[in-house]
């Protein structure tokens, strides 16, 4: 394959950026989910969640 360095760098850097994005979105989601669960266990709920009988809004 000609110009292997340029092709490998292009695909390698693209993979690095995309995997970093996926990792960031996943870790961010996991952290927010954990925070919401902690708030839930300490008895702090959304106003709509405490008022609703389950199915409304």
């Amino acid at each position: 394959m000609s110009h292997t360095f340029y092709i490998a760098m292009s695909y390698g850097l693209t993979a690095l950026v995309i995997l970093s994005l996926i990792g960031w979105v996943m870790l961010d989601g996991r952290a927010r989910r954990r925070e919401l669960a902690e708030l839930e266990t300490s008895g702090i709920r959304r106003r709509s969640a405490t008022h609703s009988a389950g199915e409304t809004r």
Binding site: S2, H3, I7, S10, R32, L39, R46, G54
Partner: protein, 264 residues
Amino acid sequence: MRPALIVFQKDPMTESFAITKFSDLANPTRFLALTARILPWMAGITALLFVIGLYLSFTTEGDYQQGDTVRIMYVHVPAAWLSMMCYTVMAISAIGTLVWRHPLADVSHKAAAPLGAAFTLIALVTGSLWGKPMWGTWWVWDARLTSVFVLFLMYLGLIALNRALDDPSRAARVSAVLILVGFVNIPIIKFSVDWWNTLHQPASVVRLDGPTIDAEFLWPLLVMAVAFTLLFFTLHVAAMRNEIWRRRVTAQRRMAARMAGKEE
């Protein structure tokens, strides 16, 4: 009572809501319920398309002049398309913020900005890596390259602006105005190769008279373009979901602080 098109099970994170019409998705809670269902499918189809696209990218023939460097096109062009599509999605969301003042529109353009910056960075870096062996230079300040670099700076500016303002709805309104003003750059990027004399080649896929590249290169390019587009929407939906959760955490912590203040 109207029949529900989609009914979701109750979950503490997403809650239960029936989606009976398209506008119901504008409700953040219903949006969360939908994301829980569709995200695994979107991620799965994206991964499958990338497997097919990468297989085609490395098994099809090289170009008679450019040789194997033509394979750089299969990541460079989809990333460049997405850099413009992401900004267009942000501009539509910005209209949602300014006209309907909808919080989901605020969340949409805030969540899209880092994704747009990432895809623009990929387009710039892979373009440079393709330019060196084919043009003999890493970079030239021609109209196409410069306007894409300006787009990258605009994404960074919007990310910084969103982080600098504490009030999310105020940050959304200011960002929305800037996004719409900056949208003028999108047609400039698209037509820069026609309006000015550039080192970058003119369009060879999206043209009125049809694609001018051989099917050997067109197929891997189109599959990779669909894979990149689906990846963007998967990440965008997930990032929007994260942003809605972040806002809920902030609101609930504020409520807890108020309750604690009353008890004292």
